[in-house]
C-alpha cells in the first residue's frame, strides 16, 4: 500500500473515531444537532425496512435514479446534436445563440418554481428541470468539440470526396467526443444536484423527499442517511460515466500510442 492510501485510511478511521467518541460516550455534540453512529444505523434500518416518507429506501433511490436517467437522456438526445450543429454551422450558431444568452445565466435551480407552476410536483416537472440543467453543458461542450477539430482533418476528408454522412459519423463525432464527454459529465452532476433540489422543494418520493421530511421532523439521523445516499449515488453515477468514457475513447489511447 502506498503512503498516500495508508494516511488516507488512517484519517478516515480517525474521523469515525472522533465522531463516535464525541457523540456517544462524551456527549460533546447533542443528538438533536448531529446523529451518533448508532442513531444513523437505526435511521438506516427504519428507512430500509419499515419505510419513511411514503416508501422504503430502495423505492426512493430507484425513483430518483430513474428521473435522473430520464432527464439526462432527454438532455443528451436534444443537446448533443444541437451542439454539434452549432459547432459546424456558424449560421446555426448565430441564430440559436440569442436563446442561449437568455437561458444560460439562469441557474437550473431557478427553473424549479416555474416547472412546478407548469407541471405540478410530479415527475414531469422534475424531468423538465433536469433537462434545463443538463442541456446547456451538453450543447456548449459539443459545439466547442467540433470547433476544436483541426481544419486540415476536415479538408483532407473533403478532398478525398468523403460523403457528408461518413464525414459526420467517422470524423466529426469521434473527434469531438472527448469534449462531448466532458459536457456529459458536467450535465450529469448538474442533473443530480438539480433533482435533489427539486425533490426538496416538493415531491412524493425520492432522496430529496427523505431529506425534506427528515428536516420537518427534525430527525438528524435520517438527514444523515439521506445525505449519504445523495453523495454515494452522485459518486456512483460519475464513476459509471467515467467507465463508459474510458471504453468509448479507448481507440484514442491506442491511436496516440502508435
Amino acid at each position: 500500500m502506498s503512503r498516500r492510501s495508508v494516511i488516507g485510511a488512517a484519517t478516515i478511521a480517525l474521523l469515525f473515531a472522533v465522531w463516535y467518541l464525541t457523540t456517544v460516550p462524551l456527549h460533546l455534540i447533542s443528538p438533536g444537532r448531529f446523529p451518533s453512529p448508532p442513531d444513523v444505523w437505526v435511521s438506516f434500518k427504519q428507512v430500509a425496512f419499515t419505510g419513511y416518507a411514503n416508501g422504503l429506501l430502495y423505492q426512493h433511490i430507484l425513483h430518483s435514479l430513474l428521473l435522473v436517467v430520464l432527464g439526462f437522456a432527454v438532455a443528451v438526445i436534444s443537446g448533443v446534436p444541437l451542439g454539434l450543429l452549432m459547432g459546424w454551422s456558424r449560421k446555426a450558431e448565430a441564430l440559436i445563440n440569442p436563446v442561449f444568452l437568455f437561458i444560460r445565466p439562469i441557474p437550473p435551480l431557478a427553473w424549479i418554481p416555474l416547472a412546478i407552476l407548469w407541471l405540478g410536483i410530479g415527475d414531469a416537472a422534475k424531468i423538465m428541470v433536469i433537462w434545463f440543467a443538463a442541456f446547456v453543458p451538453c450543447v456548449i461542450n459539443s459545439s466547442t468539440g467540433i470547433r476544436m477539430i483541426e481544419p486540415y482533418v476536415i479538408e483532407a476528408a473533403r478532398m478525398l470526396g468523403t460523403p457528408r454522412r461518413r464525414l459526420v459519423a467517422e470524423i466529426l463525432v469521434p473527434a469531438a467526443s472527448p469534449l462531448v464527454f466532458t459536457g456529459l459529465r458536467l450535465s450529469l452532476q448538474a442533473s443530480w444536484t438539480t433533482l435533489v433540489a427539486a425533490e426538496l422543494v416538493g415531491a412524493l418520493y425520492g432522496l430529496g423527499r427523505i431529506l425534506n421530511v427528515a428536516q420537518q421532523d427534525i430527525y438528524p439521523g435520517m438527514i444523515f442517511v439521506g445525505m449519504a445516499c445523495v453523495a454515494f449515488f452522485g459518486w456512483a453515477m460519475t464513476w459509471l460515466l467515467a467507465l463508459v468514457e474510458a471504453r468509448s475513447l479507448a481507440w484514442m489511447q491506442t491511436a496516440r500510442a502508435r
Binding site: 449560421k91 416555474l114 444536484t193 435533489v196 428536516q215 438528524p220 439521506g226 445525505m227 445523495v230 452522485g234
Partner: protein, 263 residues
C-alpha cells in the same frame, strides 16, 4: 451547411442571424401567449413579464421590493462566497505545498465533494437557522470546492525552477506559499472563483426556495404558491442578470490578472 466550421460570418451577417434568432424566440413566446393557445396565467407574454419586472422594483411582494430581496440575497451570497474563498484558497495552496496536509485532507474532501450543496439544507437549517447562517453554509458548500481545487492545482503546477530557486535562497515555507505559489497560481485561482460564484449563487437560490423568509428565491417560491407566473419569471430574470453581473466582473478580473500579473 456545406460551408463548414472554418468559414466565419461577417459582422453584419452574425447580427442579422442573432436578431432573427431573438425575434423568433420572442415571436414564438408572444404568439403562444397572446393567441391564447396557452393560458395566460400559464405563460404570460414577454410584455407582461417586463412590465411586472418594472412594477416589482417599486411595489413590494412577499415583504419587500425586488431590489430589497435581491439585496438580501446578494448579502448572503457575499458572506458565503468570501468565506469559501477565505478558507478554500489558503487551504488549497497549503495542500499544494505540504504533502502530509494533502494526504490528510484529500480523502475527507473527496468524501464531501459528492454531497450536492443543496443536500446540506436540512442540517444548515438545524444548525444555523433559516435566517442568514443556514443559507451561508449552503453557499459555502457550493463555493468552497472550486476554490480549493483550483488553488491546489495552481500550486501543484508552479514550475519547478521557480520553487527550487526560492528554496536555494533559503526561503521559508510560508514565504514560498505567499510569494511564489500564490502569485504563480493566481490565474487558476481566479478561474476557480468564477466557478465558485456560479455554484454559490445557484446554491443560494435553491436554499432560498426551500428555507428563507427573504431573498429572490423566497420571492419566487411565494409567487409560485400564488400562481403568479409573471412574478416568478421576473425573479428568474433578476437572478440571471445578477449571476451574469458576477460572472462579468470576475471575468474582467481574470483577464486583468492574466495580462498584468499580480503586481
Amino acid at each position: 451547411m456545406a460551408a463548414g466550421p472554418s468559414q466565419r460570418l461577417s459582422v453584419l451577417e452574425s447580427i442579422a442571424y442573432g436578431a432573427a434568432g431573438a425575434l423568433l424566440l420572442l415571436g414564438v413566446w408572444s404568439g403562444l401567449s397572446l393567441s391564447g393557445a396557452v393560458p395566460h396565467e400559464f405563460l404570460p407574454s414577454p410584455y407582461d413579464v417586463a412590465s411586472r419586472f418594472v412594477q416589482l422594483i417599486a411595489v413590494p411582494f412577499a415583504g419587500g421590493t425586488l431590489l430589497q430581496h435581491l439585496a438580501s440575497s446578494v448579502m448572503r451570497f457575499s458572506y458565503g462566497f468570501f468565506l469559501g474563498a477565505l478558507v478554500g484558497i489558503p487551504l488549497g495552496l497549503m495542500m499544494g505545498w505540504f504533502r502530509i496536509l494533502d494526504e490528510i485532507v484529500s480523502p475527507i474532501f473527496d468524501g464531501f465533494r459528492f454531497i450536492a450543496p443543496i443536500a446540506w439544507v436540512p442540517f444548515a437549517a438545524l444548525w444555523f437557522g433559516t435566517g442568514i447562517g443556514g443559507p451561508i453554509l449552503i453557499i459555502f458548500a457550493g463555493a468552497f470546492p472550486p476554490c480549493l481545487i483550483n488553488s491546489y492545482r495552481g500550486a501543484r503546477f508552479v514550475s519547478r525552477p521557480l520553487i527550487e530557486a526560492a528554496q536555494m535562497l533559503g526561503t521559508r515555507n510560508f514565504r514560498i506559499i505567499l510569494e511564489v505559489l500564490l502569485p504563480a497560481s493566481t490565474a487558476s485561482i481566479v478561474a476557480g472563483l468564477r466557478v465558485s460564484a456560479g455554484l454559490g449563487w445557484q446554491s443560494l437560490v435553491g436554499a432560498e426556495l426551500i428555507v428563507a423568509s427573504t431573498g429572490v428565491g423566497f420571492m419566487m417560491s411565494q409567487a409560485q404558491l400564488d400562481l403568479a407566473t409573471p412574478t416568478v419569471m421576473s425573479a428568474m430574470v433578476a437572478i440571471g442578470l445578477t449571476g451574469l453581473l458576477f460572472d462579468v466582473a470576475l471575468r474582467w478580473i481574470e483577464t486583468t490578472v492574466r495580462r498584468r500579473g499580480l503586481a
